[in-house]
Symmetry: D2
Subunit: 381 residues, 4 copies
């Protein structure tokens, strides 16, 4: 019998957006079972969440420290296999470090840590631990993102010369943080978010997405960050010039004050032979333009898709998959790798974001802030 | 502790499209756990599937009869709560009847049965059983479908006058049934599909969708069915004139030989004050046109949505939900109703398709076939 | 010096929608000059229009009879070359007949005539006259329509099996004819429109478009026409089953009570190898789906277009052409043919709708009305 | 009789893209008649063009100097009223200056001149002449652009905070200038184009469009220009950070090496209450997002449009207008103003781009080049 991997969760009590997303995403493919959680720093609230979620209240803890210690004492076939960290940014490093040091694998929300220093340290801890670590840059889980990546890797688009990326949201257009809105509150608070606002929250997704798809890296950037919301100390909007290792140039724009936008992450990438365009809000279409052929539209599992993409499609073409499925793909690849590790087999190089991506993300945040503080001076990454 | 409902499955062995969809859909909201299955008529294959899926091989059965009998003997807190039937059409009625008669609730794929007679009989059996029965007309689970339904129910669009629906697929454009393609094979076989081909497979979805959204019913129809594929005895394409109880007129077109189409179910419904347009392949947009205001586009959880829609949204606006989530909504509503029944509480009228929809669907199939056999004569439904 | 062809207009005084369209369309390519007009049955109003338009008041007439007689007396290099008829339907036949019989070529708005009898007679008169006659089924002038036609003619899509067409407008959703709205008034008046309402006005466009693109013809139809507007005697909505000479089946839906729709003419045509989809409101995209390749999107003058299409493109790809340009293409092809006739050269078979299309359109109207009066019985065309 | 304004053309012989555009655009509204031209620097070629176009060969000149001198000698009701300049950039200033000084009005293609100095001088010459001067920044002629401008001017979108603009073409992705392609040749040649390549050709359109729509101005910019094409000395791609007078921030990206793009000019502008999105390739849709209402889509002449937009619509909603009509709107407004001037009436402030826009455009080009030469340092405009 193919037993499910056992997940413990840090954060993500009932009412949390991202905690629920992680639970649903972990559940879709039937490989993972949530068995315990430190859902809140209040044990009582943690138990309430556990009951609502449907797990035993004996496995609800009031702190991640307690969860890790107690679970470590349980028999191997009972205790959790890995920890999912879904807290605000300042609470990523501590539980990740402790879990790894107690022999647990870790899957963590992004950005990886509060500071670049933490990110660098965590990467070392992970390497030393021999455990599997995944970072939920979930947008890389979409089949059409994988199709774009495969097309570029195979040279279909020729040499990449222009890379534009946008991540536009409008939910902080008003002073939501001054209402009773928990997510807004910590997002605008440097103590919990770090030195980046929208930059850390969504800019890192944009950075990760273009580096993932193109296979090249940002070498330097010039960023003009703004805090339009009154009283905000962290950026809620940014425009960035980009230069890439392969000679490409690009531009990034991100915002949480782009009124009326919901979650409009999109990329346009131009090569010498062709180009791609993709938007997260309509994720099942990949537009490909060619030098001398009509424009094409690829779909998940549809005609002409590469195995690198179609292997990640769960249902036939025309049956749209969404955000949760893309997120689930990260969980599934992490789970497959974890199973190999558990069985002491060699890695199959399953495709999911790792500590390396996490460090890149934090370097990006630090470079952009430094640039912006210097009136958009070029900063190397 | 909020224990999960226990599901047993009939059909849906590894490699089945719809079995996997049911499993994933049942799993998303964390309310249901698959505990047993008669995944195949071969016990050996059933066990193989059970192992791949990750359930105990003791609970893998070689027939639905055996599953129902054996499970009924288990202690109440161990045995399955309900049966999910995911077999071809001819195998819907027998397991549904037996399960209900042994005290199990049932969720069944559509169309409800092989024949109209079976559908009428099953409706009676369900009523007599006091059990919960759901039919997976999954497209009614999409939030934007529920938004459309709510807008019409509230009178926002005025009196409905015109109802157009299409369901276009191309997967049977070639003679796929002559290759080693299981799904194509039973779809074109009257013994397993019944008297409707594309009509029963997707026409019933179209019929169900427009009746669900508009709240009115088809009273008569004139159908021109075709079997374009060489040697096919069942229709693979159809065009239908529709008249509705409220005076509206309409048109339906469905096809499985619409080359290049993936799963293009769409509706356009026109009232005296406004109209709606929705497509399943891009399910997170509902276009609403008005008599004297600019066109609007509603999104799940977005501005202006009614609670009747937004209550069914799992993640914030802009984070697309897809086919599995819509399907999961049917499972979740069924599960909620089942829990009430288990706890002997009154029904909360949770919104999911039932036997009534199943009988309508079979009446539609029979009326369309009779009409088409009489050169598209009007047939009352 | 390449002198411009001289146009006389019947109807189309200032304030007329379609008269202005004809003038602008005739003007775009610089081959035609408006020199005279019977813009109104009031000579005074006709002069007012002439002055506003910028032509000599000496060439403004109070009746088409007078215009034709007076112009015929002018020297050849001064008098009009052809008549453009832009009046309501009941005033198409009389001026067309008289103009042809006085040696003038004719371009006429659709439907060709008030009655089928007139259409048949006019076709004979045209043939006998040796003059050029064009019917402004303007939608055939769009480059992407021509691309679709060429692809089908070349067999790119294989055998055509399914033909769906819609023409949806909402401007008669309310009782506009009871306000001071001239166009609505004559459109709902059988004396001026004929036996078809929306059927004649836009249904004929839909019929013409699918026969033009596919090269096959409707052989029989079953129509369910409705007059939703209170007190209307002519249809304002219709749904039609179609059967074609080549074995294809299809469906047509048209409406002028489709609330919120502007001018939504669209076709979906499916062959054994591929299919096309095109909408007039976004005329510069032709979606082509294939059996085994990704969906393509063709654009006017863009990659992969056939000369049969790109020859009709005025400006580079990405510079949208619209309704007036499509209309102008009819005028230009008519003008080229007319020049050949003038110079007594053989026809170059320039591509524009003729009397044959006009007779088809009237037959369609008559068949649909007869079918609808017989409860959607099949009527041969 | 309302006589047509008489146009003389400099450049634009047969085969020229933009000359033909100007002719068609000038012709659509029936207010302007082409009477003469210096279509080529070869008198013979100029005559050939004149004949093909259909104007008298007596009015075909071998140089703009000759045209201006000869026409000036003609009687007032015979000679041209204004000059349309459609030559490469280096040939804008000389004919414009001479025409103005000889009493002719001028309409000129963009960018206004070869150099900023010329632009500043030309602005002075125009002011001194009392003649009407229009610059064909044609994209401001689209009704949906005017709707966007009106909505912002009325405060519907609140305070503008974020302004993104793109202008993406792919036609110079390959070394087209090394083939026999006249337009490519002069576009990459600093002697004929000036110091900006794509920057001057399309970047100025982007700059003009956002300043037109928003009513605010770029105050400083940081530009990263590239010449990807081998051997090119002028930019063929650029990314620019923008800061605006009203405090808004923005980003511009333009390219002529964006493979597969046709003419993808688009803007996204975000205010505190709402935002707009518009694309030139689909110009008849204006998407408006709101803080707390569903997204709307405005159409020319459609529901909810302001007179500031609908006054510029020629045909009913749903009948798409395109590039030529937008261009024609510039011509029409210029013509109306010219008529007032001719009749010595006060200006009605008709809305078309003028020398002021031309100077802004050249300042933008100079600032961007200076910035890019200084590694994207901020330059004030």
């Amino acid at each position: 019998m193919n037993k499910k991997l056992k997940m413990g969760m840090v954060g993500g009590g009932i009412g949390s957006f991202i905690g629920d997303v992680h639970r649903k995403a972990a559940g879709i493919d039937g490989m993972i079972s949530l068995v315990c959680g430190a859902f809140s720093s209040s044990e009582e609230k943690s138990i309430t969440s556990a009951e609502a979620i449907g797990i035993s209240k004996n496995r609800a803890y009031g702190s991640f420290e307690k969860m890790i210690k107690e679970e470590a004492k349980l028999p191997e076939d009972e205790r959790m296999d890995f920890v999912a960290i879904v807290t605000p940014n300042h609470m990523h490093f501590p539980p990740a470090k402790m879990a790894l040091e107690h022999g647990f694998h870790v899957i963590c929300d992004k950005p990886m840590t509060l500071t670049l220093e933490e990110a660098v340290e965590l990467e070392k801890i992970i390497a030393a631990s021999g455990k599997v670590f995944a970072l939920t840059h979930n947008y890389t889980g979409y089949p059409m993102v994988k199709q774009a990546k495969a097309m570029i890797a195979k040279g279909d688009l020729g040499t990449i010369r222009k890379i534009n990326v946008q991540y536009l949201q409008g939910w902080l257009s008003t002073a939501l943080e001054k209402t009773d809105h928990k997510q807004a509150a910590w997002r605008v608070d440097p103590k919990r978010s770090g030195i980046g606002g929208a930059l850390g929250d969504i800019g890192t997704h944009a950075e990760n997405l273009v580096e993932y798809i193109t296979g090249t890296q940002i070498t330097e950037l010039a960023a003009d960050l703004s805090a339009f919301g009154e009283g905000r100390t962290l950026d809620d909007d940014g425009n960035v010039l980009l230069r890439f290792a392969n000679g490409a140039k690009g531009i990034m724009t991100f915002s949480q004050i782009a009124t009326g936008e919901e979650n409009n992450l999109g990329v346009k990438i131009y090569g010498t032979k062709g180009s791609i365009e993709w938007y997260q809000e309509n994720p099942n279409e990949l537009v490909v333009r060619w030098l001398d052929q009509p424009k094409q539209v690829f779909t998940p599992g549809g005609n002409g898709g590469y195995p690198e993409s179609s292997d990640y499609v769960r249902i036939p073409a025309g049956h749209p998959e969404g955000y949760l499925e893309g997120f689930a793909t990260i969980y599934r690849s992490f789970a497959k790798e974890l199973l190999l590790t558990k069985e002491k087999q060699p890695s199959a190089q399953h495709d999911f974001p790792t500590a390396k991506d996490g460090v890149r993300g934090m370097k990006f945040v630090y470079a952009a802030v430094e640039s912006s503080q210097n009136n958009a001076r070029w900063i190397k990454m």
